[in-house]
């Protein structure tokens, strides 16, 4: 192989101006080739070096053979949103080679597997070939694993060329393979060989490198689906019914992984306190969840858009029959099958009204991975308090990507099991109670659950019209009163749902409103706008119904930009309906293409509208 560069190196003279801890790396590989292990290893090693880092997997809906990309952003400033610019690109896949080469930012760096024999026409970037096959062949790797392990070559080459510490790479591998020495040694062996090869053969002429920092102290790395599952476990989940669907699958799988260690019965460690059931479809998953919620269990299901469509009828029944359940929607791109492996915030209005007739649902909107944990347990408290379904809207970006996040915090309040009457309560009431009677004036009635042996405990739940005592009723007044009470109950929910988070700047008279996984893009956009002299207050909505602070925020600002990852500006629609009198102050910035939002997009959009 040749180590002399075939092209003039634009970086050569600029070597003195190094760019440290502030760039993006994109790796183009073949899906199913084991590249996820390599990418996570780089991500985790950088994190262990104390450098703020984020990783986004852009992958196809396919098992093996299609192009897939992974983008890592290192940011000394701590900005974790996706960027459009790619300073460093690694090309391992002939099928995406041309695209990958074109995607390098001018002045950037291109690493490629040298068995890909395609013309390299760009003169404005630094180019490094990697002898992937030779390095693997020279390492003691079993033949059947060679294709999988080949991706470790770019880990080693990048480590050498960017100064990623080898001991941190080893730690990352150790974590990935759960300490099993054989795969750790095997993979690290390839990393080491590639590193040594690069050291001996490549002359660094580009300006990019990393340096250890101490900016990840007090953070962990986790994905939102694991966080949600762990949150649910700390929330005392007792039944989870689910059906496989990308990108929600790993949420239920995380429950299955962690329940055995965390939720054996403390009084009898052989016994379980939670059942996870893989249902035959989402129709059954939600049915089981509602049966369990009705019967007094903390029950949940996790799905994505298409599954939610199937759950619609039961979701309406749960609203109407007042059954507490938690439904996680890890959003992907719709409508229809859409882009199953790309991220979106497109289910907001659907979930808000899910169910026919007059239906209003409670929605929680986590804006970080640790908030996925927090809302994981909190959702049960709210559902049981409100006797209503609680939907938690996450998305693929949170659910399936590793995020640097604050550690999970133990619940700071005891469980709220809501208004449940047991035998002793009914004795005190002489058995006088009405399932749907508003006794306390908050529109939340009392309920009994299955297994209560008091002779007056039972009632017949149904999706048909009923009176205060759960008796079948087609009476017009009963119907009207019931729907009005449900509306009032929705008002009560405003007090129980998480309040928005507001980040105000002195003297700002415009605001921006967003929710969910766009949080890092919004944080960075506010910073970019400040650099342009635009001060903007940021409100992150964390629940629907909206708390009073949301309305106050809109009224306090001349204009509020509502930023979201969907086509129709769904949050903008809901805010406009709710705050009709000030709706003209709301300006929609809605965009969806399947990729996580960038800060540049947000700041450019706001700048353009401010300049009008």
């Amino acid at each position: 192989m040749s180590t002399t560069q075939p092209y003039e190196q634009p970086g050569t003279s600029a070597r003195a101006q190094t760019i440290v801890n502030d760039f993006s790396i994109t790796v183009g590989t073949v899906n199913g080739s084991g590249s996820q292990t390599s990418n996570l290893t780089i991500l985790r090693a950088l994190f262990k070096m104390g450098i703020p880092v984020s990783g986004k997997n852009v992958f196809p809906s396919n098992i093996q053979g299609m192009p897939t990309w992974y983008t890592i952003r290192v940011s000394k400033a701590g900005f974790l949103a996706r960027r459009d610019d790619q300073e460093i690109v690694v090309a391992m896949n002939p099928a995406s080679f041309v695209h990958d080469l074109a995607s390098v930012k001018p002045g950037g760096v291109f690493f490629y597997a040298d068995d890909i024999r395609l013309p390299i026409t760009r003169q404005d970037i630094v180019i490094y070939p990697m002898p992937v096959k030779q390095v693997v062949k020279a390492t003691d790797v079993p033949t059947n694993l060679r294709d999988y392990i080949a991706n470790m070559v770019y880990v080693g080459v990048l480590a050498r060329m960017l100064d990623i510490q080898l001991d941190q790479i080893r730690q990352a591998l150790d974590f990935h393979f759960k300490g099993k020495p054989k795969p750790v040694d095997l993979n690290f062996g390839v990393v080491r060989s590639a590193y040594d090869w690069a050291e001996a053969n490549l002359n660094k002429t580009d300006p990019y490198c990393v340096e250890p920092m101490e900016a990840t102290e007090g953070y962990i790395m986790a994905d939102g689906n694991t966080a949600a599952a762990l949150g649910a476990i700390y929330g005392g989940v007792q039944l989870a019914a689910w059906y496989p669907i990308t990108p929600a699958t790993s949420l239920a799988e995380a429950l299955i992984e962690y329940l055995p260690t965390l939720r054996k019965d403390p009084e009898d460690p052989d016994k379980n306190t939670c059942a996870v059931i893989q249902a035959e479809d989402e129709l059954a998953a939600i049915g089981m969840t509602i049966g369990a919620g009705w019967a007094g269990l903390r029950s949940m299901t996790s799905t994505s858009g298409p599954g939610l469509s199937l759950m619609t009828e039961y979701a309406g029944l749960a609203y109407f029959a007042e059954v507490p359940v938690v439904i996680w929607d890890v959003q992907r791109v719709g409508p229809s099958t859409g882009l199953p492996t790309r991220t979106s915030q497109g289910d907001l209005t659907f979930v808000n009204f899910i169910g026919h007739g007059d239906t209003q649902q409670i929605i929680l909107l986590p804006g970080s991975v640790h908030e996925c944990f927090e809302f994981g347990w909190k959702a049960f408290d709210i559902a049981e308090r409100m006797q209503a379904p609680v939907f938690v809207l996450s998305d693929l970006d949170f659910g399936m990507n590793q995020w640097m996040t604050r550690p999970f915090k133990y619940p700071d309040v005891p469980m709220d099991r809501g208004k449940v009457l047991w035998e002793g309560d009914l004795d005190r009431l002489n058995g006088e109670w009405g399932r749907y009677k508003d006794v306390d004036g908050d529109a939340i009635p009392y309920r009994t659950v299955l297994g209560n042996r008091h002779p007056r405990s039972a009632y017949f739940a149904r999706g048909t019209g009923h009176d205060d005592y759960a008796r079948y009723s087609e009476d017009n007044q009963d119907w009207h009163d019931l729907l009005e009470r449900l509306k009032k109950k929705y008002e009560t929910a405003r007090k129980y749902v998480p309040e928005p988070v507001i980040e105000a700047q002195e003297g700002a008279n415009i605001g921006v409103i967003a929710f969910g996984s766009t949080e890092p893009a919004l944080q960075e956009a506010c910073f970019l706008l400040a650099e342009q002299g635009i001060k903007i207050d940021f409100l992150r909505v964390r629940a629907i119904p909206f708390s009073s602070q949301v309305g106050d925020f809109i009224r306090q600002h001349e204009r509020c930009y509502v930023v979201e990852m969907n086509r129709d500006g769904q949050l903008h629609q809901l805010l406009s309906l709710e705050y009709l009198q000030v709706a003209t102050r709301l300006k929609s910035i809605a965009y969806t293409d399947g990729l996580p939002m960038t800060a540049r997009f947000v700041s450019d959009a706001i700048l353009a509208m401010e300049e009008k």
């Binding site: 994190f47 965390l262 019965d265 052989d270 089981m288 019967a295 550690p407 659950v449 002779p455 017949f460």
Partner: protein
Amino acid sequence: MTDQISGARTQVNLVGLSKTDYRGNPSTLCQGCGHNSIASQIITACYELDIIPENIVKFSGIGCSSKSPFYFLNRSFGFNGLHGRMPSLATGAMFADHTVRGIGVSGDGDSASIGMGQFKHVLRRNMRLVYIVENNGVYGLTKGQFSATAEEGLILKGQGNNPYMPVDIAWEALVGNATFVARSFAGDPKQVKELIKAALSHNGIAVLDIISPCVTFNNQDDTAHSYAWGKEHEVALHELSFVPPADEIMVEYAEGEATEVTMHDGSKVIFKKLEREYDPCDRSAAMRLLEEANAKQWLLTGLIYINPDQPSLMDIYNLTETPLNRLPEDRLRPSKESITKVNAMMF
């Protein structure tokens, strides 16, 4: 114990309850509907078995059949869910308290059409539930359309001639690995009652396909779901009686005249031989017999198949002795110390 009703001394069972305690609301189904007869056999079975009504939970989907849980056991919890989605609702709820027994009432529309998927899947999970299909071959609440169990060639007013082959509930149950498959006839209340009793003791899914004539829309004498047809064509496999665990078997049977199956809870089902030798534990014999019955146009009734030993869904999950829905917070929320370990398990 006695109970005073209208000044008369009422008979009570061993748990001190009168039959009134097992009643439901007055039925709003048609006079003579087979479903009413089944509801009253559920009442009698539970009364005779001394079951406390709070120890039963009722489920149903949508349709005439699914209204019927409102007409029995008012003191039991109940949930009238969605069309075809009773099995999932019941599955979730039954996890809350393993000491409560479930009765699900469905119909041929609810189970053989919209709910076929859930029907088949609740079978393979062997969830402990008495699953009654009140089978009349017709959609009643929407006024007389063919159901999936209607026989080919059936003519219904305004619907013409049914061109499709029927779904056989008992056959589907058997093929679907149900562990208790029975067929009966609302016009044979004694058999219905004994089957319900046996089903309540079964530690798994118990499917009762009960031909329950619709007197308004599908009761012509020459059609397969009518009273007249049932009376004419019923072929009972055996005369069965249920003996609860504590009871002694009072009737002596001569050698070879009867067989018995011991249920999971120690109760017994006694099968008195009628026309034929039949072993209800032989699944392939059951399949052959159902084929024969269909070919010969018999309304074959009785306990067609039983396997009392298959673990139920609840056995598989190994849950706490204390009903799940009575577990306090300290048995549901991991300790405060554990959160540090969890965070360390991340990266």
